[in-house]
Symmetry: C2
């Protein structure tokens, strides 16, 4: 695809090259123009699979006729080229599969979602359905290269493990290398099946196990933000036991949106909607609101109908003003609302006139109203025709305010 590059060569990575010439040690890579991404077809795909430790295939629509879309397409290729260049020494192959020209190859490889990137590692396929930027992609691939099971050997590492409350984590206690085969046996272990989205840990250390209340051959499952883990039933566990358990419990009551799988998370909506909470963890207000949210999630962890998506605006600077515009929100403050994923229609809990944030109980009442349908994104559309209606939610179609719960909790939110 050399011909596509001619107008875009060099300088994708955007840095102050002008500046840091006097000092060395922080040089961002610039695309060197060398063509590293393969055009995958029926003749070369098997060879490519064999040749690399990892093979990344971007499954894409045919090159569009529209000039603007073509540029966009070229930028995507440029991201892949830069990623390939940065990871040149890591034995990773990169290729493009055209959903029209290469339909047979795609079928053989099991590629399904156009626009996704598929990573082949040994006998597994990992789908990357996140932000396609070089930053995110490089970090993702470096994670895939790491050992899928991390050892926890001492008290300090336990502390590190306990701090990872945003992640789905499993940890098992085993006698030694041999007996944790379901975690480690290459080619068949549960850990590799979910890498890098779900983190697997193991310990052989008695005091670590004691601290975590783990019995021999037991595996604990930590849902994000929960204080207590669940014990994966069965002992010893087979790979299938673990895979089934994780698959069933994967959608957390409170889950953080991450660049590496943001589109996958967004597609996993609950009947067409998401309950979305914006909170900057670095901000005192945001932190406080997040702690309330965690309380609510802990209280409702057994409700399969509830899954709140927490977005930290700091993680998505380029989307912040888009969200503010789309949802008519001020994201310098914490917010919670319901978003319809088909049209981005939304309704938000009014916390604007209040010095205090809602309590966990008040938030639970509101969430109950969302789940029961009393609060929804359609009602406010009607209310635009009924301007006489006094309410206590801000909606993105009007600056009017909706009732929280037919009067129940008005005092707390006005």
């Amino acid at each position: 695809m050399q011909h596509m590059w001619l107008s875009l060569l060099s300088g994708l990575c955007l840095n102050l090259v002008f500046l840091c010439s006097a000092e060395e040690g922080l040089e961002f890579p610039n695309f060197d123009g060398k063509d590293r991404v393969m055009d995958i077809n029926e003749r070369n795909y098997k060879k490519a699979l064999k040749r690399y430790d990892l093979l990344c295939l971007f499954y894409h629509e045919p090159l569009p006729a529209n000039k603007g879309l073509q540029k966009r397409f070229q930028m995507t290729e440029l991201v892949l080229e830069l990623t390939a260049q940065v990871l040149e020494n890591k034995d990773i192959g990169f290729g493009m599969v055209d959903s029209q020209k290469d339909v047979k190859v795609a079928k053989k490889l099991g590629l399904e979602e156009v626009g996704s990137l598929y990573v082949f590692k040994d006998d597994r396929v990992i789908e990357f359905d996140g932000e396609l930027s070089a930053d995110t992609l490089v970090e993702f691939l470096l994670d895939v290269l790491e050992d899928p099971v991390e050892m926890i050997n001492n008290a300090m590492e336990v502390r590190a493990f306990e701090r990872m409350e945003e992640d789905i984590r499993l940890i098992g206690y085993f006698k030694g290398e041999d007996s944790c085969y379901t975690f480690r046996d290459p080619g068949s272990e549960a850990s590799e099946r979910f890498q890098p989205y779900i983190k697997f840990f193991a310990t052989f250390d008695k005091s670590v196990a004691k601290h975590l209340s783990l019995k021999m051959n037991e595996v604990n499952f930590y849902e994000p933000f929960m204080e207590e883990p669940a014990i994966v039933p069965g002992r010893p566990l087979s790979e299938i036991d673990i895979v089934e358990y994780v698959t069933q419990h994967r959608r957390a009551t409170l889950r953080k949106l991450r660049a590496e799988n943001m589109f996958e998370t967004w597609e996993d909506d609950m009947d067409g909607i998401h309950i979305v909470a914006f909170a900057e963890e670095e901000d005192p207000d945001g932190y406080e609101f997040l702690e309330i949210l965690k309380d609510v999630a802990r209280d409702n962890t057994n409700n399969p109908e509830l899954s709140i998506v927490w977005i930290d605006p700091d993680d998505f600077p380029l989307l912040t003003t888009y969200w503010e515009k789309t949802f008519k929100l001020d994201l310098f403050r914490p917010q919670i609302g319901v978003v319809n994923v088909t049209d981005a229609d939304s309704v938000w809990l009014d916390m604007s006139n209040d010095e205090d944030l809602p309590t966990a109980e008040e938030l639970e009442d509101w969430i109950e109203d969302v789940l029961s349908g009393r609060v929804n994104t359609e009602d406010d559309d009607e209310s635009a025709d009924e301007p006489e209606n006094p309410d206590s939610y801000i909606t993105e179609d009007s600056d009017e305010i909706h009732d929280l719960d037919e009067g129940d909790n008005d005092d707390n939110y006005n």
Copy 2:
């Protein structure tokens, strides 16, 4: 500068547009081709200063003759254009100042460092000397727009405050809005002087003050990673007192490299070198090493000659393999070494054959050797000529190993 764009229009932001068409709510902006960045000159700079809440001026070298450098220059402009587009509703102006054509304007505005971005806010100028990517720049500017002093009102917000151990923070206890004038008085307060690099907080709450051991009108200064704050001497404090104190204590014993001011940090070397520690906080090993580093920093907080730069590779995916190559390191593991900033020559403590990380005492001994010059980046260059020398550091010029301290601590590092 419309003409420069013609070949680069649309599609800077790199995302899976192909994919997320079915669902809405996560749409990354694409550059719309509209020209928003001004060409600043003697005729328009005063008007521009008056017109916007914030004015961002990129001070740059003249357009280079070299084609490759020209593309790079255009990408920089594109970053500014996309940033301007994303922040369109925030009343921020963007402009370019040519260090040759606009030499008079630059002098009048006090622009000094070519390649830096200067942000004009009221009567202040803030220099941005970080990674010039749209992500980093948007986040930085949103931070500049926030209130420079955050209030801490309750126990939960104190917890949020206490968690920010990576940041330089000041917090003052005041009777009310009026008496914290040195923090708040617009146009003259210390907080704005350092925004957004140094965080300022205030509380009017007695129990918060008690928890933080703050007396009325007292201001505490928190050095990153230290357990106890220092009291800024004087009560009540003038703006100058605070500015002088912060300026004097700004360089922390352990400081984290951040995208927003990475080049500034790197330029602030200690006699041409940096002690650099790589540690992934999310990784158990990395976390453990970081805790040891913090202990060392706490023990040596009064040594003005010591400032360790901590780099979390997760924050800089595009630089990870560059560092691995330049420094001959495996960054899946924690590392510590000395880097000469003029040529990126370096020498690293060998922790590769050891199951255990060094203790704080061992690390302190090594740091003493660095500060005394016994460990330095030049010795290993000579050692290439003396291959008979057995040693215990890995250097980037050879795979040989250097003595830690003429035998003192060999056992711990081999």
